[in-house]
C-alpha cells in the first residue's frame, strides 16, 4: 500500500496495487503528491520506517497541513505510528504568495498530466475496440474480458489488470492457470491488452515462453 499526500485536497490517499485510488473525499488526481512508501508493499498492514518519514518531512510543501491522525486511521500499521507523533510538527502559518502561486502551478500541471492520461487511455481503447471481433467487443464491454484464439489454446484476457490477467482456458482446472506478460508500464492499459491479444494470436509460443505462469 502506498500513501500519497494530496496538497490540493489536503488529505492522504492510498493507491492499491491494482491502480485504484481511494480517498475519503475525492479520487481526482489533479494535485502534486509525494509518496510515503510502505516498506513491505503488501496489501495488508506494514511498517513505515523512520527513514522514509524523514525524506517526506523534508518536503515542506507537502506537509504544511499534514493530517497525521487521518493517515493513521486510513491504514493500520503495526509500528512507527509513534514516530509520526514524535517527529511531525505541523507549521502553523499561511502560505506565502510565492508558495500559493507555486502550489497553483503545480496543481495545474498535475491536472494537465491527468487530462493527457485520460486522452491516451481513450485513444488506446479506441484502437483496441477497432481490432476486436463483435463477440470480443461484447464481452469486453459487458464483462471486462475477451477471449483470444491462439493456434494451440484459447485465452481469456481480463481487462481489470495487465499483470496475471491472461487466463488459459480449457484446462478443466478449478483455478485456471494464468500468464503474466506485458509491455513497459508507460503505455495505456488498453494498449497492453491489445498487445497481449496480438502476441497470443501471432506469436503464441513467444508469449508463453516469456510470460510468468501462476
Amino acid at each position: 500500500m502506498i500513501f500519497y499526500y494530496s496538497a490540493g485536497t489536503d488529505e492522504w490517499i492510498t493507491r492499491t496495487d491494482s491502480g485504484t485510488w481511494t480517498t475519503s473525499a475525492s479520487t481526482t488526481m489533479g494535485d502534486p503528491y509525494w509518496a510515503l512508501e510502505n516498506s513491505t508493499s503488501s496489501t495488508g498492514g506494514g511498517t513505515i520506517t523512520l527513514a522514509q518519514y524523514q525524506v517526506l518531512a523534508a518536503q515542506q510543501q507537502a506537509i504544511n497541513s499534514m493530517l497525521a491522525q487521518q493517515c493513521l486511521t486510513t491504514q493500520s500499521y503495526t509500528s512507527a505510528s509513534n514516530n509520526f507523533a514524535q517527529l511531525y510538527q505541523p507549521p502553523q502559518r499561511e502560505r506565502t504568495p510565492e508558495e500559493a502561486a507555486e502550489f497553483i502551478r503545480a496543481q495545474e500541471a498535475a491536472q494537465a498530466r491527468e487530462t493527457d492520461r485520460q486522452k491516451a487511455h481513450k485513444r488506446a481503447e479506441e484502437l483496441l475496440l477497432a481490432h476486436l471481433t463483435p463477440a470480443q467487443r461484447e464481452t469486453y464491454t459487458k464483462n471486462g474480458w475477451f477471449v483470444v484464439e491462439g493456434k494451440k489454446q484459447r485465452y481469456r484476457i481480463h481487462t481489470n489488470s495487465v499483470a496475471g490477467n491472461v487466463e488459459i482456458m480449457d484446462t478443466n482446472r478449478k483455478a485456471p492457470p494464468r500468464l503474466c506478460g506485458h509491455c513497459s508500464s508507460d503505455i495505456p492499459r488498453p494498449d497492453q491488452h491489445l498487445a497481449q491479444k496480438l502476441m497470443l494470436e501471432a506469436a503464441e509460443d513467444d508469449f508463453c515462453r516469456l510470460a510468468n505462469r501462476s
Binding site: K119, L127, H131, A195, A202, L210
Partner: protein, 79 residues
C-alpha cells in the same frame, strides 16, 4: 480523380499510439514508413499485420508497403 490510398502503422506509446501513414504508390512515403518501421523494430518493437474487425493478426519481420494496417508494440516481458 481517385482518392489516394492510405496505409498506416500505429506505434504504441504513452499517448496511446502514433500513426504513420503512406500511399503505397508514393516512393518517398513508402521509404519514410519503412525507415520508421526499421527504427522501431530495431529498438525491440514487434510488428503485426492486422485485418479489420479483429481478424487474426500475423507477425511481420519486414516492412511490407502493401500491408494496409500494422500495429507495432513494445517488447513484452514476464510480469
Amino acid at each position: 480523380m481517385n482518392a489516394p490510398i492510405r496505409h498506416n502503422m500505429s506505434i504504441m506509446d504513452p499517448s496511446g499510439h502514433t500513426t504513420v501513414a503512406w500511399d503505397p504508390s508514393v516512393t518517398a512515403e513508402v521509404d519514410a514508413a519503412r525507415a520508421t518501421f526499421n527504427e522501431m523494430t530495431g529498438k525491440g518493437y514487434q510488428a503485426f499485420h492486422v485485418g479489420r474487425r479483429g481478424q487474426q493478426a500475423e507477425r511481420m519481420r519486414e516492412f511490407d508497403p502493401a500491408a494496409e494496417q500494422m500495429i507495432l508494440i513494445p517488447q513484452l516481458r514476464g510480469g
